[in-house]
Symmetry: C2
């Protein structure tokens, strides 16, 4: 039998403040609930707690729509679409999402959370910290919840990765019938982020999940740049 | 601790032919490998074997690009973009994807697989069959591998659902800090399809996975129409 995958929510991480060392808190919370991280795990950590730990919070009156619009525009490098208060834009990282990832939920009233400046670096820092505090070698994905073109509903994607591929390229491999694969580049980091979201629950505020049993071949130096389509290659920008 | 999720690949399903009863084969394969389906599981079944079982195969010379183009156009209701041999179009179901879901990999040479006519009905038929052959109540998602706007790489999404929500609406719920949630509609069926893809592997050709431990509140009569954004509501069509 091919290997099964297990996704374990970590729900004992306390409310995060600026300067908190996420790796230390995650290692402790995993141990406290009896599911410590082990070698080969991939940890998915929501953007919200990463932004809080990194102090990426700005004061914002939630009822001041002008201030909110200015903040979103200042976090955008290019506006794709605008409808009412919703703005679909490209961030400095190259992500296309609603309101440049600026988020008001699960943040203290009067504040908004911005995306981390360099989410790959954030992921690397957590990964290094888990090695230091937990003595284990894991991959880390920083996830966020994005809308999609054409389909209703939001899904979690990877905005930062460390120690794991963004995209796995199967080109050149052959299918079970010996034909070269058409379907070739799988966005595994996004799929892992989506899988982890299933145990998190927006309302519960579970900020971390362990994904255990992933293909060892996917563990390598990765970057979310693998996942960002360059505007010149994009048919929908 | 919140409940963990387990994703179990079922790899003993033989090559599928027209008229095969998928539910019977899936129940048998699950039992044979020691992981029978149980009440509350969600089965993810790839479109490829559903199309094969339903005889949705047409002869196609893979080197005849004109014939391929005509086939893709005949499966499309609207063409969004065209670049070389790649065509991004809308299918009769309302899905936006490459080449109208027409697929040549893991199909006998000289044939192409088309999407099921009514993938929700396909999912219901498998669900009913698993109740009949396995005596268990499961949800079923028919999955396919789609590209995305803005992001590189493919990810699996739901093209048919039975017994499970397409989208879960959290509007009105409050976050851990008592604020009403901004992020509201989660495409759980797509996230489940993506999660299952992680144990399938395109080259291995594992066509079915059991997803065990999902939130019981998500099990209801669902339809993929919940996931299809109407063109008039879509900023990118």
């Amino acid at each position: 039998m091919a290997r099964a995958l297990t996704i374990i929510p970590i729900d004992g991480v306390a409310e995060i403040g600026t300067g908190d060392v996420l790796a230390e808190l995650i290692v402790a919370a995993g141990r406290d609930q009896g599911t410590p991280c082990v070698d080969g795990d991939c940890l998915v950590v929501t953007q919200k707690i990463v932004s809080k730990a990194e102090g990426r919070l700005v004061e914002l009156d939630p009822d001041d729509t002008d201030a909110r619009r200015r903040l979103v525009e200042s976090e955008s490098t290019r506006v794709l679409r605008r409808r009412g208060e919703l703005l679909i834009s490209e961030t400095r990282h190259g992500f296309v999402c609603a309101n440049a990832g600026v988020d008001l939920s699960n943040v203290t009233a009067g504040f908004a959370a911005l995306l981390p400046v360099d989410p790959d670096r954030s992921a690397r820092r957590i990964r290094d910290g888990i090695r230091a505090h937990g003595g284990v070698e894991v991959a880390v994905i920083v996830s966020d919840t994005f809308g999609r073109a054409w389909r209703i509903g939001l899904a979690d994607v990877a905005i930062g990765v460390a120690g794991i591929a963004g995209v796995v390229d199967l080109r050149g491999e052959v299918d079970a019938l010996g034909r070269e694969l058409q379907v070739s580049e799988i966005a595994v980091a996004d799929e892992i982020a989506s899988a982890a979201e299933l145990v998190m629950g927006k309302a519960d505020g579970i900020p971390v999940a362990i994904v255990r049993g992933l293909d060892p071949a996917w563990f390598r130096d990765g970057t979310t740049r693998e996942l960002v389509r360059h505007p010149s290659e994009d048919l929908f920008r």
